[in-house]
Amino acid sequence: MARMTMIEAIRSAMDVMLERDPRTVIFGEDVGYFGGVFRCTAGLQDKYGIERVFDTPINESAIVGMAIGMAAHGMRPCVEIQFADYMFPAYDQITQEAARIRHRSNEDFTCPITIRMPTGGGIFGGQTHSQSPEALFTHVAGLKVVQPSTPYDAKGLLIAAMEEPDPVIFLEPKRLYNGPFDGHHEAKASGWAGHPAGEVPEGHYTIPLGKAEIRRAGSALTILAYGTMVYVAEAAARETGIDAEIIDLRSLLPLDRDTIVASVAKTGRCVVIHEATRTSGFGAELIAEVQEACFYHLEAPIARVTGWDAPYPHAQEWDYFPGPARVARALIETMEA
């Protein structure tokens, strides 16, 4: 066991896979010599050579397009999109190509690639360094979509993603890279050193895609969250004293429906939270599934607390970010409904 930040855990996952599997290659903008603008690949080019860890031109479509071609040949590329906000030029290659090749070729060709991208707000990045596009991926059949909330999960899920036979979108909540988040932006981040989930094995281990984790057991109400929102949920539960069961989804696609349904069947109440804009956000999908599966258990409408339907603002970041106060209000309303 070692202590790792989420950045170190992600780096360690790639390190393990570069070591174990000669088919692994890592590339993206600034990931080679420099080691990535968030340092996730620092040292890997030195250790494994420029042929396995390298820089690319500023062209996300080329990054994913090349990865698809390499995967068709038999390699296992893990590429970085510098910010999730910059995946849009690659959206055609991701959704129309990577997601489809196995099916359209009837398994003549496959596409085992992992596409990493820092997601979410919390760093005053404004509208082009803060977006959470997960719902734009969960709508696409053929993709798998993952988002960790701890270093331990980040490493286990990333290794699992890199071992997947199909394309995986790996969303990294940049707000959590260097430390957890007590839900309040005023409170300074405590760092992963103090956190149990900062304990990460040096070697190979996986966390299966499609399995959620119950972060807090509770009986009053179920909170569905992922990434930064897990910590906001914990803060809201703490501060309201509501005995909420907090489920960290970890995998959005495929979804751990059983864990969710079991919890809501038990609590009869559900609040869904995410940072992305509300309309057609992933919360809508969660609500659709829960109301279908748990209709007769539900004692209150399922509430959602999300980013507002506006571009992510710079100065007003914390008015946009769904914080503990907003979530607390939703918890109380849902309990009182």
Partner: protein
Amino acid sequence: MKLRFPTPPSRPGEPPDFSDLVIPPAGALPVPPLDLTSAAAWDYANGLVRVLDDEGRAVGPWADYLGQAGDDEALIRGMRDMLTIRAIDRRLLNAQRQGKTSFYMQCTGEEAIGCGFQRMLSKGDMNFPTYRQQSLLVAADYPLETLMGQVYSNRKDPLMGRQLPILHSAREYGFFSISGNLGTQYPQAVGWAMAAVLSGESAIAAGWIGDGATASNDFHSALVSAAVYRPPVVLNIVNNQWAISSFSGIAGGGEATFADRAIGYGLPAIRVDGNDYLAVLAASKWAIARARGGHGPVIIEWLTYRAAAHSTSDDPSAYRSKEEASAWPLGDPIDRLRQHLATKDIWSDGRHAQVEAEILDTVIATQKEVESHGTFVNPQPLSPAEIFRGVYKDMPPHLRRQRQEMGF
């Protein structure tokens, strides 16, 4: 001040006009060294590699360079390849007209390019084609039964009816799964070629794109990547003068050749008479040797003409002169090879008619057999549950639930 809106030399009702197209004589261009640089490539990107002269004689340095690869056997095989794909195109067009399948696209007039290029590739090389390179499959000796099965989307279709007719996939035959979205295959070809090198193989990749689709963004993403990493990839541009209703000028082909695009990226390019089967063989041999020899990527602009409609959904008489195809200065690839074979006394009208008939018989027989496994008129549907197979390697729970909802 006015904007410029390019218009083609002729529209319906007007006489065809290719006077802007400069056609240098066969043999005019030398054969460049395999390590040709972009700086030295100007003449090759603006000239035209041609072997057959107007009398059908093979002349000039590219004829010599071709050597054995252009022996009688190779040329007769080329003739058979071209006659085969043309027969198939005719028959499948008919089948579509009869409602036996939903859609079809011919490569009429462009047969030499895929047929010749494929014969110069080696086992293990990979094409990233568009929907107009079925000629590659024929020259790769892909079973006609399978080729037709895909077009009928029937029980013989290796893709189980999932893809639109003509969007083949045949890994074993060096043919990557075709996408309906233009351009995407181009950077994929670059990536595949990089993987070949990183895996220590000597295989090369070949990307294919049309004149119209050079305007698409992935043309650029591929050229930038190829320029940076210099993998063994041949990037082919099939300039058949037309996209759907828009001519090459709407793709920006007005002031420079498409081959010229490469030079600005620091990549060499050559421009080739795509209706001259010997020129196709020679240029393909050179480009493939260059790539395999580690001299880096090369772009080939193939000059040709889309003689048929864009697809079965298209009627070209609405936007271009009916006589254009016959006025096309580079002629028809089959006629030109036929003329050449005649000059060598290894071919005759009788022989041609006989081979054409043989091939037609085979194609018809195969077609009948394939149709017996289902057509859009007499379908032999698969289980609807097949829709869910292969979306992922292992079917996730939500797809299993949906399959149950479907009743399976």
